[in-house]
Structure formats: structure tokens, C-alpha cells
Amino acid sequence: MTWLHRTKCSLLRGLHFSRFRRFPLAGELIVTIVLGVFSAHGWAQPVSTTAGERVYREGILPSEATLWGQRQAGARIGGADAACVSYHRRSGLGSAEGSFTIPPIIGTYLFRTRAQNVQDLDLPHVPAGGAHRDAYTDETLARAIRDGVRPDGTELSYLMPRFKLDDETMASLIGYLKSLTSGSVAGVTEQTLHFATIVTPDADPVARQGMLDVLDRYFADKNAFIRGESPKLVSSRELMYRVTRRWQLHVWELTGPPATWQRQLHERLAAEPVFAIVSGIGGKNWAPVHAFCKEESIPCLMPNVDLPVVAETDFYSIYFSKGVLLEAQLIAQQLPARAAGSRRLIQIFREGDIGEDAANAMRATQSATGVDVVQVALKAGGTPREFANAVRSIGSGDAVILWLRPADLASLPAAVPKGSTVFVSGLLGGLENALLPANWRSIAHVTYPFDLPDLRKSRMNFPLSWFKMRNITVVDERVQTDTYLACSILAETLGHMLDSFVRDYLVEREEVMLSYRLLNGYYPRLSLAPGQRFASKGGYTVRFAEPQGTRLVAEGGWVVP
């Protein structure tokens, strides 16, 4: 059965790269029919593991019924809560919470004895994997799942529910476990780890260069201490592993219209297999990249995007924050208090820039408030007169949000529209370097979704010193610090993984480890968990302290909207 399943997978993969790629269902159907014809002769029972995958990941049975598991003391657990993924994780390598360890349940762990596990160099070693246990067979595993007993008759942990699955579903689930996190991993060789970084054409060119400089130097540093081949090491627990590998960076610069980017990325990945995507930079259209990472099941770790894709159940993409969408939430929360009498909210932004998306998100928050939202969309490359007219349209008693870049802010007239409440996007405007004219600086409420400059000073010493020592010109301090941070987090996480290079496991470990870090550049705190994809969740609102300079005054504390 296993051989046949692997053949089916190979066939499907072959079809994937052919013209059937666009018709995955057709491909799957053909293969299933072909294999079904052979199975009708009773040689072997090809089992679709799709049912098993659904049980594992969603807690739904093939009949569409909810999966229910029975725990001791009568507690029942069902659906998503009962799904194996909630405990054993997507990789199947388990997890740990407090003093509770959830063991790995991939086939290569279950079907071998512990002694074999340890010697197996292709097995991803994980902290939870050391249970003393005989190897399972299909039969004893089915019994364990149904009755909660190991091959030797001892009982499984009381946390593990009993699941009464029918034979077919059980076979599918066991087949899924056998295929889960098995086989070779793309982008990982004996000596090298391959990573890619993705650059979209709509990214800011200055920030792009700054990011690439940081990545180049970081990767060079990583490899600087490696001389020759790194030998296999034996740990005190007799685990064999090799810790040190070279890092190799692939820069994938996308071209042309966004509709073509996913195809370009699939082609790049096929030509240059990489283990994960790290950092990267985008503009308004990150969605194709997010979709690519989801389709390819490849981690996409902390790109420099101020307009991410918000879909926290999409496993593979992790972001620093919701960017301008977070700013919209911060403003929405304060609007009733700061602009209490305002019946009208005017939002000024450039078409085609991310301010437009932020303004739309903001408008959505006001639908039930009775506030009249006026969207003033300036044409890209519009005239100064259009800009001036837009500003002049701000009336007394209006609230206004300026979703504008520094050049536009600098073009604001000297006089502030009287009686209006002004909000400015810190992200778009340049944070403490925002080129607001003097009179605006004293009244504008600037959203600031980072730690304040004074508060982050000591934490920033490290990355800034590193930039200096490596002769990296700081052209965009935030993007470059975030890039450095993304690399550091990746390095730290990989270090704790030993050589268990499994893509899903990398994401799972980042989820767990992120909140242990204390030094996070611009962010006071980074934290993730299963189902959380935005590591920093709040921000400040600030005002400029003086008509010139970068000194800020915080209006209130750190707020999580």
C-alpha cells in the first residue's frame, strides 16, 4: 500500500509539472481511476490519504461529520479541537507546553523502535521524540488510536483521546501519518541551506537596496566561520546531527504585472529549490507572494511589507505586524475620543499606494458609526493644485487622516485647516522623520506602530553597531533593522532545531520561540502562537515635540487595538 501511495504521489507530482498543473482535480482523478482499476483486482488497497489529512488537520470525517474523541473522566473533544494538528502540529513532530510534551507521530517515528530512531540520520530529531516504546504496526497503531494503549499494553497519556474511526478512515489516517514529514527536504543539502528572498517591482527601491545589503552581509557573516566540511556530531543523548551548514541566498526579483508573479515564483522555486523564504520586500501587491508560499507549503518569514495579507489561518506566512492596517485600527479606536464632534472623516491618499488600502480598511470601521467618510484619492503623479484643493476641502470640525508619503506631507500648506483633527500615518509619512510642516507638527496625531525612539535606543545599539562594522549604509533604518531581525530570528530558531530541517517545523518553532527574545529592534515585543501570524500587535500615537527635529511626545501608552 505504501509503495502504491508513493507511486501515486510521484505521478501526481509529475502531473503537477505538466499541463495538468492547472487542473489538479483532473490529475488526481485520473491517477485515482488508474490506481482504482488496478485495486479492483485486489492486489493492494490504494488508500487516498486525503481523508486522513482532513481528519488530521481539521477534525472532519469523510462523511463530513465532526471527529469526536473521548478522554478519560468522560470529557469529549471534537472538531478542530480534536484534530491531531492541534497537538501534534502540522509537521507531526509534536510540541511542548509547560510540563506537557506532545510526541511526534510521523510514520518514521511510529514504525521504528527508539533505538533505530536515534541512529536514523534522516529522522528529524525533536525534544519530544525520545519515548521508550516498541515500534508500532498498522494494527497496534489503530488500537492505540481507538483504545489508547501502546504495543506493550501500557496506556497512552490521559491527554490523548480515543477515536473510534472506521477501518477505511483509520487506514487513510495511518497512511497520512506515514507520508507526513517524510522524504527529502528541498533546499537542504549535506553542507548547505538554501534560502530565497523575494523582491517585488513595486517595492521602494531605496529600501530594497538597503535590505539586500543587510542580507548579503548577514549571509556572508554566517558562512565566514565555516572551514571545510562540517563533521557529524554526537550529542550527549547519542543523537547524531550536523549543526553547521553554509547559508546560501537566492534573490528572486519579480518583474512585470502582479498577475504573473505567482508563476514566476513557482518557476524560480522549481529551478532553485530553497528551504524557506526569509525577509524580502514588497509594496501594494504582496498577495501573490503570500499565495505562492501557501501553495508551495514554504515558510515566508517576516517580509518587509507595510500591507500584509491578513489571513491568520494561513500557516506559512509570518509578518512583523499588520502595518498600515494596524494604523487604521489604532486611529479607529481613538477617533470617538479625539474627534468627538466630527461628523465627517476625510481621508487623503495616493491612488495605487498602500494608503488607499488603509483608507478602505478605515472606512469599513466607520460603517456603523454614522460618520460620513470622504475618500480623497489623489491621482498618482497628480498636480500640486489637486493636492492643494484636497487639503482645502478639509472643513472645521472635520477629522482628517493623511495617508501620505514624505514628499506629499512636505507639500502641505503652512496653515492647518482650522478646527480639524488631524491624523497622520507614521508608517507612510516617515515616523519621526516625517516631513510635516511646522504648524502641522504641533497638532497632528501620528500613529507610531513601533517602540518609541528613546525607549528602543539601547536595543538598537546592537544592529546599528553591526551595520557600522559591516560598512552597511543605513538608508532605511527600520527596513534594514527588520531585515537583520528576521535573519537573527531565523538563525536562532534553526539553531534550536539542530538539523531537523522540516519546513513546517521551522514555522512551529518560530511560533514558540519568538516571545523568548528580548532584543527586537523597533518592536517592544514579538509574540506568536498557532493561529497568530502578526508578531507585533500594537502601537503608540505621538505628536512632534517641536516645530523642527525628531523629538516625539507620546499621547498615551502602547495600545493594542
Binding site: S10, L11, I102, D166, S527
Partner: protein, 231 residues
Amino acid sequence: MTASVKSWVGAFVLTSMGLLGPAVGCAFADDMPDQKTHMHHMMGETMSPEAPDEHAHAHVHSHESMAGIKRSTAIYTPPSITLIRDDGRSVSLPAELDDGRPVVLTFIYTTCTTICPMISQTLAQLQSELGGDRDKVHIVSISIDPEEDTPARLRQYAKKFGAGPEWQHYTGTVAASVAAQRAFDVYRGDKMNHNPVTLFRAAPGKPWLRMDGFVTAGELLSEYHDLVASN
């Protein structure tokens, strides 16, 4: 072997299997468990699709505790901090705990998948077992991941477990959450380090009963009856 070569080999082998007839194919069935012995269809024993129990109510069949609860008694002083209740109101923690009712206190976070669902499910069972007595008890769940657990998320979480008005969830600043955790000696640095703890106090001013481990609803219920009866 590249993926595409493997796929052609696979296709070729399958084709030749088809041409050579069943004899070849049987060899692959060796490691298959004999289908006949597994004909005890589990259909009858499959959990029937009852109406999806969103509120995760369940019967407690026994009062056995799961794998050893550690019981202790302690005096804890809740700090005078402000928390945000799931209805959005800012409240004082001591005031919330001291309205005269017995208090069941736990610490959770909404995206926790291992420990908290069990704790919250136990509280849901307790709520159900209390029946008419339910409003006499104050069930308090404080978030240890307050930045993620906004009042809206807490309401969603509470709804999932069918929390009644006597069961409230709390969030706040990170500092406030940590202060509350420290006060009850549950702070372990990172949310991933947390362990199941349930705290029970019969009345304001009384000591707290601390149960480390997964306590069952039945145990909580009998604690409630014991402690309330003797106070």
C-alpha cells in the same frame, strides 16, 4: 532521481503490472493486514454526528482525577491593577474577585491548543453541573497573552465554551497580566511555559485552594460544596 523520472517509472511499472496480470500485484499486498480480520466494522461505534456541540458540554462519568492533582492552600493578594473585562470595561482586579461570591480562577490564552481548551472545557462542565447554583459562583479566566486576546477575541472564546454571565474573561496590558500571574504564582516567563492551575476561594478574605494539574469538573464541584458548606 528527479520527481519527473520517478513519475515515469511509476507509470511504467503500473502499466506493466496491468499487462502482467494480478500475480505481480499480489506481491505488494504482503504487508497489508488481512482485511478479513478487520471486518468488525466500526460504523456502529463511530461517534455519531450529534448536533455539533459548540458549547462542549459533556457528562462526567467518574470523579477520578486525571493523573494526580497537587492540592495546596495559599494566601494570595491580588494586586490593585486594572484589567479589561470581555465586555470592554476597565475593572479593578481586587474588586472583581471580591464581590462576595466564591471564585474559580484560571489563566488561559485563546490561541492555546493544548492546556487551555481542557481547562475551559472543565469550567464549562462545572457551569453546567452547578445548574441553578451557577450564578452564585464567579468564574474568572485571565489571559496570559493579552496583546492577542482583545475583548472581542475573549468574547469569541467565551461563546465557544458557552460561558454564562457568571464566567468572565479578562485582558489588559502585558504588565497587568504579568502582575496578576505573579500574584497567584503562575507566571512562568512565557505563555508556552504555563501549566494547568485552577484556584478556588470560597469567599473574600479566605485562603485560596490551589490545584495544579487537570482538575475535573466533578472535583471542582465537590470542592465547591465542601468549601461553601464550611464557610
